[in-house]
C-alpha cells in the first residue's frame, strides 16, 4: 500500500509547496503570529485563489472534488510550514459539517463565501469538564417562536476570534452525556449576547471561551437533523483526525530533516554529533517513527475515503500512534538541538509546540488508544 497520486494531486501538492516556499518561510510566519490579529488575511486570500479552500468539496457544492486526499496533501505541507491560518477550522471542520449535514439552501448560502476566503469559521464543541467527549454537552437550545434560543459556555474554540461564523453544539433534548439530543447550530460570531474571551494558544494561534446568553437563531440555522449532532460531530472528528495526522507527518518530516542536518554540522568534543552512536540510533528511531506515521496516515485516509467518516476505530488508532510518534520525534529534535531547541528564535521549538497542540485537539494519544481498545471490545 502506497498512495500513487494522480496528476491533479501532484499538481495540488507542488502548487501548495511553491506558495508556501515563496510566502511562508519561518520568518514570514513569525511576523504573522506577532500581528495584532494573529493571522494573515492576505495569505488566506492566496490560499483561496489557489483553490485550496475549495479543494476537498464536491463539485456540486462548488468545490474541486478533491475529497480527503486533497486535505491530506494540503495539511502535510501546512505542517511543514507551521501555517496558523484556520484551514482546519474553516474547511475541514465547518466545511465538512456543512457539506455532510447542511440542507441545499445552507450549502448554497455558506460554501461559496467559505471557499472564496470571505468567511472564516470555527467549531465550538467542547465544554468545561467534558474533556474529549463530544456528547458531554450542557449548552442548551430551547425552541422559541420560529427558532431557537441558545444558552451555555463553549471552551477552547480555536480560531473563534478570527471567525465570522461559529458552529456550536447545544442540547435540544436529553441530559448531559446522552448521545441523543445534541444539535448543531450556525451562529454569527457578532450575534447579540454572544461573548468571547480570547487568548493565545501554545502553538501561536488564538482561541476563545464562548459564552451564549439567550442567543437567538432562526430555524434555518439548525445544521443537520435535530438531536443527531453527536453522530455528525463524530464523523467530523474522524475527518479532523485524518487532517491532523497529515499535519503531524509534515511537521515530523521537517524536524527529522533539520535534526539530521544539524547533527552533521554541529561539533562537540571534536566530532560531529552524528558520529556518536547513541545519537545515530536515536535518529534512526526518529526516522522509523516518521515512516510508520506516513503509512498510518495513508491507511487512515484511504479507509475513510472508502468507508466514509463516522465511527472509525482506525481514526482513534492513528491519532494515538501518530501522536506518540510525533511527540517522540519532537522531544528528540529539541534534545538534539540542545539549548537552541529551547529558543523561540529557532523553528524547532515551534514544531514541538504545534505537535503538543495537535495531541490535545480532539483527544490526546492516551484517550484515543483507550477508545481504540474499547471499540474492539464492543465489536
Amino acid at each position: 500500500m502506497d498512495i500513487q497520486f494522480t496528476e491533479e494531486q501532484e499538481l495540488l501538492r507542488s502548487s501548495v509547496q511553491r506558495l508556501l516556499r515563496d510566502q511562508y518561510d519561518f520568518d514570514a510566519r513569525r511576523k504573522i503570529v506577532a500581528t495584532e490579529e494573529g493571522f494573515s488575511r492576505k495569505h488566506w486570500t492566496s490560499f483561496a485563489e489557489l483553490g485550496l479552500l475549495a479543494a476537498p468539496f464536491s463539485e456540486d457544492a462548488g468545490g474541486l472534488g478533491g475529497g480527503l486526499l486533497s486535505t491530506m496533501i494540503v495539511m502535510q505541507e501546512f505542517g511543514r510550514h507551521l501555517v496558523v491560518e484556520p484551514f482546519m477550522e474553516t474547511v475541514v471542520l465547518a466545511g465538512g459539517l456543512i457539506e455532510n449535514e447542511g440542507s441545499p439552501a445552507q450549502k448554497g448560502a455558506f460554501i461559496p463565501d467559505l471557499v472564496s476566503g470571505k468567511s472564516i469559521w470555527a467549531l465550538g464543541w467542547s465544554e468545561k469538564g467534558a474533556r474529549y467527549d463530544v456528547a458531554d454537552v450542557t449548552t442548551s437550545a430551547r425552541r422559541e417562536g420560529g427558532g431557537y434560543v441558545l444558552n451555555g459556555e463553549k471552551t477552547a474554540v480555536i480560531g473563534a476570534p478570527w471567525a465570522e461564523f461559529l458552529i456550536v453544539s447545544a442540547r435540544t433534548s436529553g441530559s448531559r452525556n446522552d448521545r441523543e439530543g445534541v444539535s448543531l447550530f450556525v451562529v454569527d460570531r457578532h450575534a447579540a449576547n454572544l461573548h468571547l474571551q480570547s487568548y493565545k494558544t501554545i502553538d501561536g494561534r488564538r482561541a476563545a471561551e464562548v459564552s451564549l446568553r439567550d442567543v437567538h437563531v432562526g430555524a434555518d440555522r439548525l445544521l443537520g437533523r435535530e438531536g443527531e449532532g453527536v453522530a455528525a460531530l463524530e464523523a467530523c472528528r474522524d475527518g479532523a483526525i485524518a487532517a491532523l495526522c497529515a499535519e503531524a507527518v509534515g511537521a515530523m518530516a521537517e524536524l527529522n530533516a533539520a535534526t539530521l542536518e544539524y547533527s552533521k554540522t554541529r561539533k562537540q568534543f571534536g566530532a560531529t554529533l552524528g558520529s556518536f552512536q547513541v545519537l545515530q540510533h536515536r535518529m534512526v528511531d526518529m526516522f522509523i517513527a516518521h515512516q510508520e506515521a506516513i503509512s498510518l496516515m495513508q491507511h487512515l485516509n484511504l479507509s475513510l475515503a472508502a468507508n466514509g467518516p463516522g465511527g472509525s476505530r482506525l481514526a482513534s488508532g492513528a491519532k494515538s500512534k501518530i501522536g506518540y510518534a510525533a511527540r517522540f520525534v519532537a522531544d528528540q529534535a529539541v534534545q538534539l538541538h540542545g539549548g537552541m531547541g529551547m529558543s523561540d528564535e529557532l523553528n524547532i521549538g515551534h514544531y514541538f509546540k504545534r505537535i503538543s497542540a495537535i495531541n490535545i485537539q480532539f483527544g490526546d494519544p492516551a484517550f484515543h488508544v483507550l477508545r481504540y481498545a474499547q471499540m474492539d471490545a464492543a465489536a
Binding site: 477552547a156 493565545k200 529539541v334 539549548g339 529551547m342 515551534h350 492516551a366 484517550f367
Partner: protein, 393 residues
C-alpha cells in the same frame, strides 16, 4: 521517607520547618516564582536567610557558613524544597562562592564573599558559548594580557538571569596553543564594564530567563583572575560538581505530584475511563520519586560516614530531570483542552486565561522543563560520565 535522625537533628528539622512557615515572604508565593518575580522580590527570601545566618549551608563557618553537618545540610535542603521556597541564587551562593573561598586569594575573599552572602551582588555564569554547550573545554572567548588587565572578547550564551547580574564568572581562553583543557582561566567580570552587552533570549515557554552576553574588548583587572592562569578547568570542574548535587529535586517533584493528584481529582471524573490511567501513571512516577529519594538518602548516609559519593550527582541529574519532565507532561495532559492556552509574558493579571487557576502554568511548565535534560551537562553527557567513571567502559 525520612532519614533516621538523632533527637538533636530532629529538633533542628522542626526549627527549620517553623522558621520557613513564619518567615517565607508571602509576596514570593506567585503562580510561577521562576518567571513572575522581580529581582527585588527574588531577593526577599535570600535576605531573610542571610539575617538568620542560613544563607550558605555549604560554606565553612570561617567564611560565613552555619557550620552544619552533612546531615543537617540535607535536612535544610529537604525542608526548604518541600515547602516550595525559591532557592537563593545558585550562581552566587552555590557556585562562585565556593570557588572563591577555595581557590581565591585573601583580597578576593574579602571583596566578594560578604557581598554574595548579603545578596548585594548578583552573579551569573559565563560558561556556555554558541557551539560550546556540554563540551565546555571548547570555549573560545579570549582573554589577552595587557599590563594589569586582560582584554576579553567573546560571546557567552544561555546565561541565566544575566539581566539582573552585577558580576559574571567566566571561562576564558588564555593560551590558544595549549590542549583545550589546559589553556582556560577563571575570570570574574564586572557586568558594568564597558563592552559588556546583554541580549535576552526568549524560550519556547515565552519567558525571559536566559541571555546572550557579548564581551567586546572588555578590560578586566588581573586581580580578578581566580587562582592561576590556565588552571581554570580545575576550578570549573569543582564548580560543576556543586551544580549537580541538588538536581534530584525530590522536594519539588513531591510538591508537583501532590498538585497533579488534586488536578486529576478535580478535572477527571472517576467514571471517565482515563481516570484509572492517570492514577496508574501518577503511581509509577511516585515510585520513581521514592526510588530516587531512597538513593539520595543512601548517598547522604554514606557521605556522612565519609564515603565519596563518586558520580552519584550524574544519576540524580538524569533521574531527577526525567521525573520532573514526566510530571509536567502529565499535568499538562490532565488539563485537557485548557492545555492549549498559555500565559503571555510578561505576566499580567489583566490578560485572560481560561480554566481553573491551578492549570494556568501547566503549559509553560511543560514547555520550560524541556530544558532540564539539556542544561547543566546534557543527560547524554551524564550517562557518558557514569559509563566511564562507574562502569569503567
Amino acid at each position: 521517607m525520612e532519614l533516621a535522625l538523632s533527637p538533636e537533628d530532629a529538633a533542628f528539622r522542626d526549627d527549620v520547618r517553623a522558621f520557613i512557615a513564619e518567615n517565607y515572604p508571602p509576596e514570593m508565593r506567585v503562580p510561577n516564582p521562576e518567571t513572575d518575580l522581580t529581582k527585588e522580590q527574588m531577593l526577599l527570601w535570600h535576605r531573610v536567610l542571610y539575617q538568620k545566618g542560613w544563607i550558605a549551608p555549604l560554606w565553612p563557618k570561617e567564611h560565613g557558613g552555619p557550620g552544619w553537618s552533612i546531615t543537617r545540610r540535607f535536612i535544610f535542603e529537604q525542608e526548604t524544597s518541600r515547602a516550595g521556597t525559591l532557592p537563593p541564587l545558585a550562581f552566587s551562593v552555590t557556585m562562585v562562592g565556593p570557588v572563591i573561598y577555595t581557590f581565591g586569594n585573601a583580597e578576593q575573599k574579602q571583596k566578594f564573599l560578604p557581598r554574595i552572602l548579603s545578596g548585594e551582588d548578583w552573579w551569573c555564569q559565563g560558561y556556555s558559548e554558541p557551539g560550546s554547550g556540554s563540551d565546555l573545554a571548547s570555549v573560545r572567548t579570549k582573554a589577552v594580557r595587557d599590563g594589569d588587565y586582560y582584554i576579553v572578547n567573546g560571546h557567552k550564551t544561555w546565561t541565566t538571569l544575566a539581566q539582573h547580574a552585577d558580576w559574571i564568572f567566566c571561562l576564558v581562553r588564555t593560551d590558544a596553543s595549549a590542549k583545550p583543557q589546559s589553556g582556560i582561566s577563571f575570570l570574574l567580570i564586572d557586568m558594568k564594564s564597558p563592552g559588556v552587552t546583554v541580549r535576552p533570549i526568549i524560550t519556547i515557554d515565552g519567558s525571559h530567563e536566559v541571555n546572550d552576553v557579548f564581551l567586546e574588548d572588555v578590560r578586566v583587572p588581573v586581580a580578578n583572575l581566580i587562582g592561576e592562569e590556565n588552571k581554570g578547568w580545575t576550578y570549573a570542574k569543582f564548580l560543576l560538581g556543586n551544580e549537580r548535587t541538588s538536581m534530584a529535586g525530590i522536594g519539588r517533584s513531591t510538591r508537583y505530584l501532590a498538585r497533579l493528584k488534586q488536578i486529576v481529582k478535580a478535572e477527571i471524573p472517576e467514571g471517565d475511563p482515563s481516570h484509572i490511567e492517570f492514577i496508574r501513571d501518577i503511581a509509577r512516577i511516585e515510585l520513581d520519586v521514592l526510588a530516587l529519594e531512597a538513593t539520595e538518602l543512601r548517598v547522604v548516609a554514606q557521605m556522612a560516614r565519609g564515603i565519596d559519593p563518586g558520580p552519584a550527582a550524574s544519576l540524580f541529574k538524569i533521574r531527577g530531570t526525567e521525573i520532573f519532565q514526566n510530571i509536567t507532561e502529565l499535568t499538562h495532559r490532565a488539563m485537557g483542552n485548557y492545555g492549549l492556552a498559555i500565559r503571555e509574558h510578561p505576566v499580567s493579571a489583566n490578560r485572560f486565561m481560561p480554566g481553573p487557576d491551578y492549570g494556568h502554568t501547566a503549559s509553560e511548565k511543560y514547555l520550560n522543563s524541556r530544558k532540564l535534560s539539556i542544561y547543566g551537562g546534557s543527560n547524554e553527557i551524564q550517562r557518558n560520565i557514569i559509563a566511564k567513571a562507574v562502569l569503567g567502559l
